[in-house]
Amino acid sequence: MIVDIALQTGPLFLAEAKPSLGAGAVVRFEGRVRGEEKGAAIEALDYEAYEPMARQQMEKIARELGALHPCLAVRVRHRVGRVPVDEAAILVEIAAKHRAEAFAFLAEFMDRLKQDVPIWKAAPKP
């Protein structure tokens, strides 16, 4: 399984995956900043990461999930710094032979990321 994970500043995008992996299913998830946080209207969120550990943990989670839900490739981009409302804080793309393992991988990856990957968000100070 190809695992390609990065943290970056600025808007997120994923280039078209090449070469063809023989995937019958490609599932993409984009987690966006909503216009409210803890009941208060916001214009952006600031994301902070302990980057070496965040990459290490995402890689570890991906490898563990790959054993449970065999997929062909996973690509993850998580943004750090200020992320305006409606922009993506995370992009995940899973390629697999069939959709079932791709959906399962994605759902569990996001659950575990929200438990164990050292990234924090905070509303910017006025």
Binding site: E48, P52, V117, P118, K121
Partner: protein, 83 residues
């Protein structure tokens, strides 16, 4: 003998202590309880974080019984909120 543990702090813990790194003197093979006792002497405002902050070393969360050694870099990981 005591020497310093280097602590990395993030998110709300960093906001509380006003720095992203701390040094705390600890004996060799210190327990996590010992670290917290010394840390709270220096930064009593961290008491409310004690029950939710996990410690990590070399990019991995530490089990509660892992011992700490002078010169190590230990990260204090408050509840995460990425994604």
């Amino acid at each position: 003998m005591t020497a310093a543990l280097r602590l990395l702090v993030f998110g709300p813990v960093r906001a509380q202590v006003g720095a992203d790194r701390l040094e705390v003197a600890c004996p060799d093979s210190a327990s996590q309880e010992e670290l917290w006792s010394r840390l709270l002497e220096l930064h009593p405002g961290l008491e409310s974080f004690r029950s939710t902050v996990r410690l990590a070393r070399d990019g991995e969360f530490l089990p509660p019984d892992a011992l700490l050694h002078p010169g190590e870099e230990i990260a204090l990981i408050p509840p995460v909120s990425g994604g």
